[in-house]
Every structure is written in structure tokens, then in C-alpha cells.
Amino acid sequence: MEAYLVAMLVFAGLYALMALGLNVIWGLAGMVNLGLVGFFGLGAYASALLTTKLLWPMPLGWAAGAAVAAAAGAVMAVIVARLRGDYLAIVTLGFAEVIRLVASNEIWLTNGTDGISGIPGPWRGAVTPQQFNLIFLGIVWAAVAVAFVALARVSHSPFGRVLRAVREDEDVAAVAGKPVLWFKVRAFCLGAAVVGFAGALYAHYNAYIAPEGFAPLLTIYIVLALTAGGVGAMRGAIVGALLVLLLLEGTRFLAAAIPGVTPVQKAALREGIIALSLILLLRFRPQGLIPERTRTRASP
């Protein structure tokens, strides 16, 4: 049981990192990113390939994962910065699918749908599986803490204030002399880097990655986490991630208790409950559990 809880907390930490990254892009800069899992995948693949094929040390691989995702984020931001939110949602959704397809088809680089196995983990093999879990729990949550402190600072810095201004009204920010595009690119870059870093950690925790793991469902979980926690507030991202994991895992035990339904119906109920809770959250607590305190928007 403890091993399970520890493993789930590792996952929650990874989700929290992703939610923090999304919060910079969406929460602060107001650009929706439904291609989150694409950046997550880029980070995972970059680190996995560099550490297994070029035998880079792990911390360098993780940094590279973040860097590759950041670079992709920058390119993405330049292309989409001019677009309205609705276009942005569709373009980023498509981007993630493209990343998955490239990972499936460029076998020379990514080993295709076979995926990459045997990705090293810190002290894996030298310690017991449970010790490895605990070590990774420490690493992931340390990363969450660092990202949280750093991003909370960013959020309250002049940079963060400009981003919020851009989010609320781009034209006003532009008139005030702020280079809107440049701010958006930097925000996208920063957010993507955090998500890419999460991807890198994921790869080294699981020891294996494959294109199928980077399906849009994960993006939805993270959006759910951020919405639940409260878009804009960094604490909200972390609370939301924990809540989502509780929901994902809790529905297992809940579904098991329902009598008289087939296993497929249980599985359907589980996924349905998760989707329904997102809708209900948006309905009854649109500001999230932890609303953004500095929220400046006058009208909802």
C-alpha cells in the first residue's frame, strides 16, 4: 500500500509540474495550450535519447529536455501569438498530435511505436524498488518546490504583471509600450520548459516511453488539475494536481464498489465521472479551489 501511495505521489508531483508550466502559459499570459502533452513528450524524448544513446548524465538530460521543450515553445509562440484563443486551442491540440505521430514514424530517431526502454533512473538497480520510489519522490517534489517558488516570484515580478496585463487586454498593454509578442514568447518558453522538465523526469521514473503515452487525455487531466486548483494561482496548480490524482485513482475504488455492471461499464463510468467532475467544477467553482488573489479582471 505504501509503495502505491508513494508512486501515486510521484505521479501527482509530475502532474503538478505540468500544471505549473501550464499556469504560466495559460494562467499568466492567457494563452490556452491544449498541446501540453506534446511538450511533455518532447522533454521525455530529448532526455531519454540523450541519456541512452549519447550517454549524457541524467541531470544534463533533464536540462536538455527542458531546453528542447522551451525551444519548441518559443517557435510555437511566434507562430500562434497573433491568434485568438479559439484558434490557439486547435493549433496546440494539433501540435501535440504531430509530435506523437513523428515519434511513431521516425523510427531511426525514436525507435517508433516500440518506444525507448531501459532509460536510466537515479540509483535504479542499486537500491530496492521502494527506495528508488522514495528517492524519486524527493526529486520530483523538490522540483515542484523549486518551480513553485520561482514561478510565484515570476508571477509577482514586473514581468508577471505585464503578462497579466497582456492577458486582460492585449491592446492596452501594447499601447502602454509593452512588446506583447516578446512577452508572450517568453511566457510560452518558460511554461514549456517546466512541462518539458516534467516529461524528462517522467521518462527516467518509468524507464520507458512510447508515443502512445503522450495521448491528449493527459493534457485534459492537467487542464482539469489547473481548473480545479484555480487558474492563475501557483498554489492552485499543486492542489489541483493532487486532487486530479485523487480523482483518477479514487474512481478505481469507487467503480469497484458498484454492483451489477460489467467491467467495460465500470471503465466507462470511471472515465465519465472524471469528465463530469471537470464540468461540475467549472460550473460551481469556476475560479478554482484557490482563486488567484491578484486577479484584476473587473467583469467576469
Binding site: M1, E2, A3, Y4, A7, M8, F11, L101, S104, N105, I107, G112, T113, D114, G115, S117, G118, P129, N206, A207, Y208, I209, A210, P211, E212, G213, A215, L217, L218, L248, E249, R252, A256, T262, P263, V264, K266, A267, A268, R270, E271
Partner: protein
């Protein structure tokens, strides 16, 4: 070789020991905790069309074993989690099964990515993983004997399939492959086989599995003027391809793995479209009762190969635990080869198997998916293949060898 021999001797000792302890333990043992096995089939996502039947097969075997008295008096319980055809969800599900339910064997993983992601958890926690995944790389993992794969690896499956096609007189084949871990290795084997026989793989297309239109791909098949098309995909996409090939008037041979055309296909497509499609799958002997039994249980319909395999997963795990007299993961792993091959009494169901083991006899389980003999890597070997032709919503046996 030496290793197997030692294994067998140890096995006999173990079995003897097990019987003694059973005799001594008597009723107390019978009232022990249930043995818990974990099933991790895909109930949602791309594997959705297969997972439910795979799980049903497992549950039915367990019910049968419980009715026969369970594993040395201990009842068996199956806990199932949905892997969502996604390695991330699969790992979380496996963690729950291993750490919360304390299962001592995992079975029924389908997607290669899920199996590869879950495999390290199994060997780290020292419990066997029974899988139907086809990627060749799976049994090459450093799994310390914990992986048992009932699906033949692509080399074995494709080379026997190619031999069959060549025997049937096929010389020009078009390989239409869904994007999967074994698309390229299948192609390599196919080219090698056809070239050696003076034939040719006249076209090779890897397609995206999730798409709903394959018209231009079918045009390529038509233009290639082949005598055979090999549809190396899965149920939803092969269903579309068969319809499109029929419309285009393709009159050559259509050859496909048995999991890509099954009972569900017959319910979806008219017979005139499916008639003549040839499928192949690993198979037990004709006289084997295991397959017939499973078919009866499924309501006398065609059984897809994945369900036949998970039927064997459950049977293997139960019989191995019974033979070892111990339901721990390591005990099951060590006993699987002992009850799956060798010169023991041939049994094709858990009831007979449990009875023979209780009587202290060695057994050799022959399953619904084949003789299920495993090599040292955990791949099946020595299996026969069954070639069938679809005729008016049923499969008619063409060849078994």
C-alpha cells in the same frame, strides 16, 4: 538445457513437497486467504474492441478453477483494472494491483507499450506478467524470466504466414501495415521470404490506424496488381480496408492475422465482403479440447486469438501455483515451464489439471491458443498455426501445421 533438467528435478521435489504440506495442512490450508491475480486488459481506447472478451476469458477460467476446489483449497480472485490502452494509465493500474491488491501474477496486457511500461514493475516486484503483446522487443527486456508471451513474436508469426502464402501459390504480395512496433520487422521477414521463393513484396504501406478513409491506399494496392494483400492491422482499420477492397473489386487473396478479422467483423460486414478472407493464428492440435471448450463458453461463436491467449494466461498461472504449492510470484514463474511443457499428463483445462496435480502427477498444459511451451526468453515455441477461411460468417479450417 542443463538448467531445464535441474528445473524439472527441483520441480518434482517441489511438487512432492507441496503435496505433503497440503496433506498436512488439510482443512486449515483450504480456508486460507484467496489467491489474487491481476488482469490489466484495455477496456477503453484503441484496444477497447478486444479487452472485454479477454477479461471474460480470464474470469471464466478462474470460476472453473474455483468450482474445482481452487488452488489447493484456496479460492482465486481476479482484480481487473483498465489500462486505457495507455502506458501511463497502465502503470498506475499495475501499481494499484501490485501494491494494494497484492496480486501475485499479472495477465492480459495488450498494447506493446503498456506491456513494456508495466514489465519493470513486475520483475522488480517479482511476479510474472502474461501478455499477448506482439512487439519483438518485449521478451528481450532484462525480465529475469518474469515475462510469458503467448503471442508469437513477429518473426515466427510472419515467417509461417509467408510460408503458407507461398504454398498457396502467392508470388506478388502487398503489405498493408498499421503503424505498430512490428510493422517494419514484419516487412523485413516478408521481403526475405518472398525473395527467397522468387516472389516479390510489390508494395509496402504503413498507415495511421485511427483514420477512417483508406481509399488512396487501396488504389495503390489495385495499381500494384498483386495476387495477395496482407492486411497487417487491427479490427477497426482492417474492417474499413476489407470494405474498400471489396468495393474496388480486388479479387486476390486477402490475408490477415486472426485478431484483425473475428466474430465482430462478421456482425459488421456483409458475408459477401468477408467471404474468402484468410486468417491465421497460433493453435493447438485439432483434437484439443481447450479451444472447443472456450468456444462453447463464449456462446458457440468464433473466439478471437487474444481471448484464447488470456484463457491460457489464467490457466497457466493457476496450474503453476497449484504445482508449486505456493502462489507467490516467484513460485509461479518457476513452475510455469514445468506445467506447460514436458512429458507430464496432457491436460487442456484447469479442472483436469488441478485434479492431476492434486494426485501428485506431472502435467503438460495444452491451451486454447496452442501448446504454450515457452523458450528461455518467455516466447512460445513449437506452436502450430491454424489457417482459416471466412465462409458465410464462420471460419472454415484450411490447414493446421
Amino acid at each position: 538445457m542443463t538448467q531445464t533438467r535441474i528445473g524439472r528435478r527441483a520441480a518434482l521435489l517441489g511438487a512432492a513437497g507441496g503435496v505433503t504440506s497440503f496433506a498436512i495442512g488439510g482443512k486449515a490450508f483450504g480456508q486460507g486467504n484467496p489467491v489474487v491475480f491481476g488482469a490489466l486488459p484495455p477496456l477503453t481506447g484503441a484496444g477497447g474492441p478486444y479487452g472485454p472478451a479477454m477479461l471474460r476469458a480470464i474470469q471464466q477460467v478462474v470460476e472453473e478453477a474455483n468450482a474445482a476446489g481452487g488452488i489447493r483449497g484456496r479460492q482465486i480472485r481476479v482484480v481487473a483494472e483498465d489500462d486505457q490502452t495507455n502506458p501511463d494509465a497502465g502503470v498506475r493500474g499495475a501499481r494499484k494491483l501490485i501494491d494494494v491488491d497484492r496480486v501475485t501474477a499479472l495477465m492480459g496486457t495488450w498494447a506493446s507499450s503498456v506491456t513494456t511500461a508495466v514489465a519493470p514493475l513486475c520483475w522488480e516486484n517479482r511476479l510474472p506478467l502474461f501478455t499477448v503483446s506482439g512487439a519483438d522487443s518485449i521478451t528481450l527486456l532484462p525480465h529475469q524470466g518474469f515475462i510469458f508471451r503467448t503471442q508469437p513474436n513477429s518473426r515466427l508469426q510472419i515467417s509461417t504466414g509467408a510460408d503458407f502464402l507461398l504454398r498457396q501459390g502467392s508470388r506478388r504480395v502487398f503489405h498493408m501495415a498499421a503503424q505498430s512496433p512490428f510493422a517494419q520487422s514484419s516487412q523485413d521477414v516478408l521481403v526475405e521470404k518472398f525473395r527467397a521463393a522468387g516472389g516479390q513484396v510489390a508494395g509496402y504501406v504503413v498507415y495511421e490506424r485511427d483514420k477512417t478513409a483508406f481509399r488512396s491506399e487501396v488504389d495503390q494496392i489495385m495499381r500494384a496488381r498483386v495476387d495477395t494483400v496482407f492486411l497487417n492491422g487491427y479490427l477497426p482499420d482492417v474492417t474499413i480496408l476489407l470494405r474498400e477492397l471489396f468495393r474496388a473489386g480486388f479479387d486476390g487473396r486477402r490475408f490477415t492475422p486472426a485478431y484483425a478479422v473475428n466474430q465482430n467483423t462478421f456482425q459488421t460486414l456483409p458475408n459477401e465482403v468477408t467471404n474468402g478472407v484468410i486468417t491465421w493464428q497460433p493453435s493447438p492440435d485439432v483434437e484439443s479440447g481447450a479451444f472447443r471448450r472456450l468456444q462453447t463458453r463464449f456462446g458457440n461463436v468464433e473466439v478471437d486469438p487474444y481471448s484464447a491467449q488470456t484463457n491460457d494466461h489464467a490457466a497457466l498461472a493457476i496450474l503453476a501455483a497449484a504445482a508449486a504449492g505456493d502462489a507467490t510470484g516467484v513460485a509461479i514463474r518457476d513452475a510455469v515451464r514445468r506445467i506447460a511443457s514436458g512429458d507430464g499428463e496432457k491436460v487442456d483445462n484447469v479442472t483436469d489439471g488441478l485434479r492431476a496435480l492434486a494426485a501428485g502427477r506431472a502435467i503438460n498444459y495444452e491451451g486454447a491458443s496452442g501448446p504454450v511451451d515457452f523458450d528461455e526468453r518467455g516466447d512460445i515455441r513449437g506452436t502450430k498455426f491454424r489457417y482459416e477461411r471466412a465462409e458465410n460468417g464462420r471460419f472454415a479450417l484450411m490447414e493446421l501445421r
